[in-house]
Symmetry: C2
């Protein structure tokens, strides 16, 4: 019973999930990282209902994760495209984490279809848990969560 039960109401995991945890949000961002910028492309690739896509793009813009940039192409009227902000770019580790887990556990061969490589040297890229002393941790079991100072027993 007496597990580590401090107050969890301010936890950042929950907060982040309210921002990008709705259906399609993270898939929209995945496409954004692949370079997709226009409504029709998001819609065609994802297959999400237009209404949902309109809503998700709107909330992502409202959250400052995407921004609407007007532009016009050759002989077309002015449109706008959706581009990642820095706040959006910083969600990249989240997507990589999801991708790595899926590659390991959902793909038949244990590696997914998309490979990530370091643009500088071409070597494959992965997420690692590291500590400030320079150690790389093997997994969650080497991490100790430290509750906030005033930890009420819930």
């Amino acid at each position: 019973m007496s597990e580590t039960l401090w107050d969890r109401s301010g936890c950042s995991v929950a907060g982040t999930l309210t921002v990008v945890g709705e259906k399609w949000s993270l898939l929209v961002l995945r496409e954004a990282f692949f370079g997709v910028r226009r409504f029709a492309d998001f819609q065609r690739i994802l297959g999400a209902p237009r209404a949902v896509l309109t809503d998700r793009l709107g909330t992502l813009v409202a959250e400052g994760i995407l921004r609407r940039v007007p532009y016009q192409a050759e002989g077309e009227r002015q449109r706008h495209e959706y581009r990642l902000t820095q706040k959006g770019v910083d969600l990249y580790p989240t997507l990589v984490a999801l991708m790595q887990w899926g590659d390991r556990y959902l793909a038949d061969d244990g590696s997914g279809p998309v490979r990530l490589e370091h643009a500088g040297c071409g070597a494959p890229v992965r997420l690692a848990l590291v500590c400030e002393s320079g150690h790389e941790l093997a997994g969650a079991r080497e991490v100790r969560p430290v509750p906030p100072a005033g930890s009420r027993p819930a």
Copy 2:
């Protein structure tokens, strides 16, 4: 228009999200990482509706992310608790990624309530993008996604 548009149907991000992307799933796992194991504790801490919690725990067990372990405590009848499997433990980076982003962008002071420290040395822990050649990447802009060999133009 001619963005990088190969086929995305097998992407692991979507697959992982169908497994743990439903509402409450990742919060259940967060609690599991904090050591919570029993239905009533999940329910009390998360505040999720019981029916939803029953369903989420069931699917997580069905997916092999949690397992139901029977046990009995002092002078109590036999109950069962939910424990992380290795497959579940490997979702840790996903939660850390969500937490780090929330700490940076949602907390007032730019750092969240829970600190993660290396159990071995006590130093703070973070996620890093590294390549096999040993470089640490600053962000998504240094990563190039490589489509699968037979990349159809969608």
